[in-house]
Every structure is written in C-alpha cells, then in structure tokens.
C-alpha cells in the first residue's frame, strides 16, 4: 500500500478484537490490516456496528488487540511501556470521540486545555494556546462559558479545539462533523484538511458522511469487522 507519501506512522497487521466471554463473546474485528503514512488523510467508512470505533481505538493505542500487531513509527506497541504510551497519546495524538466528553461545569477554555494540563504546560501558556485554537474555530467569545451551556455544534467545535490544542502529529476523529450543520461542518473539515495540507498532520477520520470520506486521500471500508473493497459497500463513494 506504500504510495511514497511518507513513512508509515501507523501499521496494523491482522488485528482481532472481541468483546465479552463465552456465549456472549462477540468478535468486533476479525483480522484487519492497514498502513497509514505520515501526512496521509484516511477515512474509515462502514455501517453502524461494523467496528469502525473499535479499530480507531486500537490504532490510537487506547486498547490492545487480542491478536495481531500494531506498529507506531515502526515500533511494536507491545514493546512500549505504559509511560511511553501515555506520552505518545498526550503529545502526538489528538482525539475527537464519538461523544463530546466535555466536563459540563468547567469552562470551555478549561475543557480545551485539558491535554496541555496533563502534559504539565504552564497556566499562562495553556491560556495562550487554548485561546488561539478557540479563535481558529470561531469560539473565542465562548471561552468563559460553561461547556454545559453550549449548543451541540458549539460543543463539537470545542471538542475539535481540544484535539488540536497540543499540535498533534495524528488526529483521530470519530464522526467529527456528525453533529454539525453543513456550514459549521464545512468549517471543521476545512480546518482539519488545511492542517493536513499545511503541516502534514495525519488524519484518521471515522465517518458516515460520503462527502467527507471523499475528501480524504484514502478510504478504508469496514464490514462486520473486516476490511472490504469499496465495491462491496452499497452506496459507497466511488
């Protein structure tokens, strides 16, 4: 799959993941292999329940596969210590989860700078960087509001700001535009793709939106826990 765009930043080799035990055991991923190069934008597309989020969590080192291997910058993830994994998720990755996961009673700014706080960045720098990214998402005027008082679209933009605030190498976004109107959705997409183009930030986007999927360099189609060719998905973007 190497197309010469860059070095492989993430590589999954025949990964399996199942949930539950005994009779309730359910295999969500049945052997998926994929390679994502530095600076690429990849869309993970598939029906609900096909295993997209599961795959994204594994790629983001939030979870361990039952079988198969994951490589980050060529290093097997099982070789990394908990500390190294934490550092990598904190410094190199940005997350947009399928739900917002905002702390309702904290301010928008406090929510956005959480990764910096974990990294131990000073209060002053946190504020500067937090405000910068909020301005970028046209949310600066809401910085002091409590997260609970935002509209759905505003919350989504806060979540994206939080994912960008640490200038990550890779952004993992689970339905980043799912809750946004077309206009705001467009804004978010433009920001993500401009970062991808200008700074070579790698994008891993889980989406139902065929338009968003089409804007990515590459699409990975998932059905019932397996990667399938584009033609196997009815109504998939060409």
């Amino acid at each position: 799959m190497s197309d010469g765009v860059g070095e492989a930043i993430l590589e999954a080799i025949d990964i399996h993941r199942s949930y539950g035990r005994g009779s309730s055991r359910f295999e969500a991923l049945k052997g998926v292999s994929l390679r994502i190069d530095e600076g690429e934008s990849v869309a993970i597309v598939g029906k609900s329940g096909s295993g997209k989020s599961t795959l994204m969590h594994l790629l983001a080192l939030l979870d361990q596969p039952d079988d198969g291997a994951l490589r980050i910058d060529g290093v097997d993830s099982s070789q990394l210590s908990a500390r190294q994994l934490n550092r990598m998720r904190n410094q190199d990755f940005g997350f947009v989860f399928q739900q917002f996961f905002l702390t309702p009673n904290a301010t928008v700014l406090d929510n956005v700078v959480l990764p910096l706080k974990i990294a131990g960045v000073s209060r002053r720098e946190r504020k500067v960087r937090g405000m910068a990214v909020l301005t970028q998402l046209e949310m600066a005027d809401k910085a002091k509001s409590k997260a609970v008082n935002l509209s759905g679209g505003q919350k989504q933009r806060v979540v994206i700001a939080r994912a960008l605030v640490n200038n990550p190498r890779v952004i993992f976004a689970d339905e980043p535009t799912g809750n946004l109107d077309t206009g705001t959705g467009r804004l978010v997409e433009d920001i993500l793709f401009s970062l991808n183009k200008e700074y070579g930030m790698t994008l891993v986007v889980v989406t139902h939106d065929s338009e968003l999927a089409a804007r990515c360099d590459r699409q990975l189609f998932i059905r019932d826990g397996r990667a399938v060719p584009a033609t196997a998905i009815s109504g998939a973007p060409a």
């Binding site: 939030l62 500390r83 990598m88 998720r89 904190n90 997350f95 996961f101 990764p115 990294a119």
Partner: protein, 429 residues
Amino acid sequence: MNAANILTAAIANSLRSKLRTVLTVVAIVIGAFTLTITSAIGTGVSNYIETQIGAFGAKDVLSVTKATDDTGQGDEGPAPYDPDDAIVGAGFAQFDAEALTEEDLAAIRAVEGIVDVSAVQQVNPRYAEYDGHGKFILGVNDSATLTTPDLSAGAPLDNSGGEPQILLVTSYVDALGFADEQAAIGKTIQIGVVDYLGEMHEVNATVAGIQNETILATGAALNQALLDELHTTQSVGRPQSASEGAILATARFDANATDEQVDDIQTALAGKGFAAATVADQIGIIQTVVDAIVALLNAFAVIALIAAGFGIINTLLMSVQERTREIGLMKAMGMGAGRIYALFSAEAVFIGFLGSVLGAGAAIAVGTAANGLLAGTFLADLEGLQVLRFEVAPVATIILIVMAIAFLAGTLPARRAARQNPIEALRYE
C-alpha cells in the same frame, strides 16, 4: 452496568459537584465536631482531676484509722461491746469511728517501714472575722498539712515558723471584706474558738494565701502554729480524764518506697486492725470513675469517626462514578494511573482537611461558649474546672487522624478510578 449504578450516576449528576462536596464536608464536620468535643471533655476533666490530685501532694503518707465494721454487724455477727472504746464526739461522730489511743499510735509506729506517726489534731474554730466586717463560719480542712494547695494568690503555709497562718478559700475574700485576693495577703484575721467550758476566745491569724476550693480538699488550711494555738485554746478547762480522741493518724513512710513496699506496710497495718490508705488509693477511686466516663466518651467519638469514614468512602465512590467519563478522557489523553490515583487521594484528604478544620473550629467555638455558660451557672462551685479544654496537640491530632481516615477512605475509590480502562470509561453512560 446495572440499574443501581445508572440511578446513582443520575442522582450524582443531578447534584453537581459543589453540593456533593458540601455534603461530604458536612458529614466529616459532624464527626470531627463530636471528636473534638469528646476529647476536650476528656482533657478538661482529667486536667481538673490532675489539679485536684496535685492538691494532695504527699506521696509518702498513709492515712490510718481503726478498721471497724460499719454497722457493728460483720460476717461473724455483732461485735462485742468494749467499754474502753471511746466514741469521739463533735464533727466526727457521723463516721462512727474509734479513736486512736497512744498504744495504737505506738503499734503503728512499730510497723516496719513507718518512719513517723502523728494523730491528726481536731480543731473546731467557730468563725472568722476581718476588721469588724462581720463574722463568718469557718470550715477547716483537717488534712491540709498533707496537701499542696491550689493557690490563686499568696504563698503556701509555713509549717516550721511560729507565726499562725491561714489559707482562705476564694469565697471568703469578698465576705470578709477584702477588696481583692491580693489585698487579703498578709492581713490579720480573728478566728473565734470555744474552750471546753463554753467560753469564746479569739485567736489572730495571718492570711498567707488564697486557695481555690477543690473537690478533695475543702475549707481553710491552717499551719501547725495556728493549729497548736487553737488546740490549746479549745482545750482550756478540759478535765485530765477526758480522752483526746483523734480518729485519724497520718503515718509517713520512706518517700522512695516501692509500690510493693507500700503494699507490705498496708498489709502489716491491716493485720494489726488498722485501715491504711495512701492518697493515691483515695484518688484512685475517683480516677477510675473518670477514666470510665472518658472511655465511654471516646467510644462515642470512635463511632462518630467510623460513620464519617464510611461517609467519605461513599461520597468519593459516588464522585468517581460521576466522573467516570472524565477519568476515562484524562487517561485517554495520556494521564497516568498513578496521577489519577493521586488526584482522587488528594481530593479525599482535602475534603477530610476541610471537614475536620471546620468541625474542630465549630467545636472550639461552641465549647468555649458552653464553658462560659457552665462556669457561670451550675459548675460555679467547682473552681478551676473547665469542662471542655481545647489544646493544640489533641485538636491537631484529630485533624490529622480525620485526614488520615479520609485518605484511607479515599484509597478504595481512587484505586477504582486509577484502574479504569479508558475505553470502558468513555463508554460509561
């Protein structure tokens, strides 16, 4: 995830964190308040008892009486009448005790380990008066020579000098007409005493000091010179045949005697028909009662503490549950398990600190107010008794103990938080 969990999370979410923290703190405040109050009562009462014990300073003295059957009807039936047994009259009649004869004193002195024996002289002064300001009945502490007084002004008695001296209790200062305690020191007062023929005499005495009334030593203390003078005066006209009739003798033993040696002396005296008690024996009874009360109060405090501990565990578990997603998010964003653990432990300790400081502060405020109220009303007679006594060390200990309990209570929820799998936590609804 079961229905109960969903319910708890829903309740916790509806309460929001501020109210939750307040409620946790209130639970701890109640525990810390109770603890501080009970410990202050314990300290206050034992402190008082200790001061009282200080009033009985003599550690090398036995008070000796004749051992008698209280009712005259012992296990062996009625005691035979003995015409030689003189019953002492006057103020000691109610004790129904036998007088000590010269032979008795000699017998006591003969006991191995006894250094010296003296009969306690009984004097019965009728009144005290200062400078014509009016006569007041004078109560005397017969065993005053054995005690260290709880002085509030002046100096202790001089028992070797020839000047008759007296230590008045505080309530006499006003009554006798002194401006204040200091004004009474060094003044001469008149003490009225009746001789054997019923005639009133006045004896002069110098006020050496003013003492607080104690539960173990009530009445004025007189020095040897004054005792001798009063005794001489009241014996005027006494027929030769009349028995002098001291019922109490004080026997000194070596101040370095071990407990066993003192036990041996007491056993030897008992063998000869005397009852001998050290000051410690007499106070021991009171101390035992006080110890039991303090132990009871401590038991209540411990119960309050345990309840508060469970309160902390419960609320923190609720907090962890409420913040499951937040914890999951922080872990996903690279926060280590150790730091999550520390975060929750620190929160627990802080809640404990807040609760204990507020509780102890409230207890000190309420206790101080209660002290003033009690001292002014029905405890007015017990001078020097501060029922609630707040000292830095016990209060600081309570705060530290509550914080330690909060930390311990926090370990379970904190561990639960630290162990959470970020993906599972983020799935939590």
